[in-house]
Point group: C2
Chain length 290, copies 2
């Protein structure tokens, strides 16, 4: 069975392991803090690759940032990664072929191949974490766009400049429905900069009515955004992943969405491919597996 | 050269002509008022088909309403069409093959094959008329979704129920950026139910500052919606069509959109395939032409 040496390169952590073409993780997961310079990132990757490349058929990297349609270069740095990240020539780090995919796209592919959206042909994955990522599958292919950057969940929730988004524009879905969005909802509700996402989640557990109101605002923004995406894509399902997804009332979101869309009913599912879905998806894309 | 007998079936008018596989209209355009019952619609179509089907290879129909992915049945009626429209068995109307496509999708295909988006592989067409239609092309295929209903421009401009949309939900892009949306903007600005879209357009021409403000709100909503679509699809271009598109400051919209998106710059174009783009697109899809 063919195997890939897989990496997941994020703003704070880098993970690595070996994954076979069925999507199974067959080695220990290695974890590193993401170095602060591109030279150190390259050295780290080169070191890991030299240790394992003889055991595998291909190197598969899930990375933050948009990846071009040939899956061989990062074409835009995100705020979370070191400056100049997009100048790294990943292919130069190995004698084996190096395959790259955006981390959200790769995770969506893992869900499609072995996880929550398996068996569907049109699906939208939303990764609700510190930020919000998106990976969209249409007719069994990843939606990449002209330059590889499609699936950015930066569509506006208001037209009149209320909350600045991390992307530089205003009022994007991401800045309302991320963990940060929930914190900002709470800050606005209590006029208190120190309230945290954790405070809201704890408050909801303790049946604190004000915290429940804040949480419901956040969840309603998720519902409102998904309604638009459902009408645009007419997907079989949505897959919710990321650290914030566990707090979403999936049944309620599904009911609310289906009661307001003009397209046929869709389904709402929690991700099942796990925390390493990015590496699994990159490996499956690279190997053509599962 | 192969030929299609083409129809465009809308809520108020039905058009028909013959179109060859290069997309050229090669017969007179016939025009009818849309009958009020499905029996009369069927009789009209049967009559036209019987007159011309011997001259053509296929029947190609651009229709209001969602069309299934096999392009052989309307699966949802729109408010504009007679009740039961979706029960019509279009194939039963001719001995030749009958091909159906949603009118906005068909028009987007005409723009892609012979019009404004020719040569691109990812494009979003917005038809700004009484309502707003959408047709999306990804990797040289129409985006249809699981049931054929994708491309509905019903994503929310506000999360807090300000303006009821024709779709039954609230605050959709359509109800702000259609001709009706412009009228509603003016009604709200002047607290006057009698002000019309025409009044606003005339006011702008006459440099009436209040009317210019109303118009700018409408155009800004178009910009805001397109920003989201650009981040989601990363398209080569947007094509603006429909009766309201002529009033849009295309250059300004393009500049504003490109200054606020995280994906690579896109271009804004007016449609060039003409008023019969729906029939042309349906014919080209049916014939596999141009």
């Amino acid at each position: 069975m063919k195997k890939a040496l897989a990496f997941d390169i994020g703003g704070t952590k880098i993970f690595s392991t070996i994954i076979d073409e069925s999507g199974k993780i067959i080695a220990e997961i290695e974890k590193f803090s993401t170095p602060k310079t591109i030279e150190e990132i390259k050295a780290l990757l080169r070191n890991e690759i030299s240790k394992h490349e003889n055991e595998v058929d291909i190197i598969a990297i899930a990375t933050a940032g948009a990846v071009n349609n040939e899956n061989n270069a990062v074409i835009g740095s995100t705020g979370n990664l070191v400056e100049g990240y997009y100048t790294i020539d990943f292919q130069s780090l190995s004698g084996k072929k190096v395959f790259l995919e955006n981390d959200a796209n790769a995770a969506a592919w893992a869900e499609y191949k072995i996880g929550a959206s398996k068996g569907t042909s049109v699906s939208v994955m939303l990764t609700l974490g510190t930020g919000v990522g998106g990976g969209i599958i249409i007719n069994d292919r990843l939606l990449k766009g002209k330059s590889g950057a499609a699936g950015e969940m930066h569509f506006k929730m208001y037209p009149d400049k209320r909350r600045k988004c991390t992307c530089g524009s205003w009022d994007c879905f991401e800045i309302y429905t991320s963990g940060k969005g929930l914190k900002l909802d709470a800050e606005e509700a209590f006029n208190n900069k120190d309230v945290t996402t954790y405070d809201v989640i704890e408050g909801v557990k303790n049946n604190d009515q004000k915290m429940i109101e804040v949480f419901n605002r956040w969840q309603n923004d998720i519902i409102n955004g998904i309604i638009g995406l459902a009408n645009i894509f007419d997907p079989d399902c949505f897959v919710l992943s990321g650290s914030m997804a566990q707090f979403v009332d999936v049944k309620k979101v599904e009911e609310q969405v289906n009661s307001q869309i003009v397209t046929a009913p869709t389904s709402m599912r929690l991700a099942t491919a796990g925390n390493y879905a990015g590496m699994i998806g990159a490996a499956l894309l690279a190997l053509g597996g599962a």
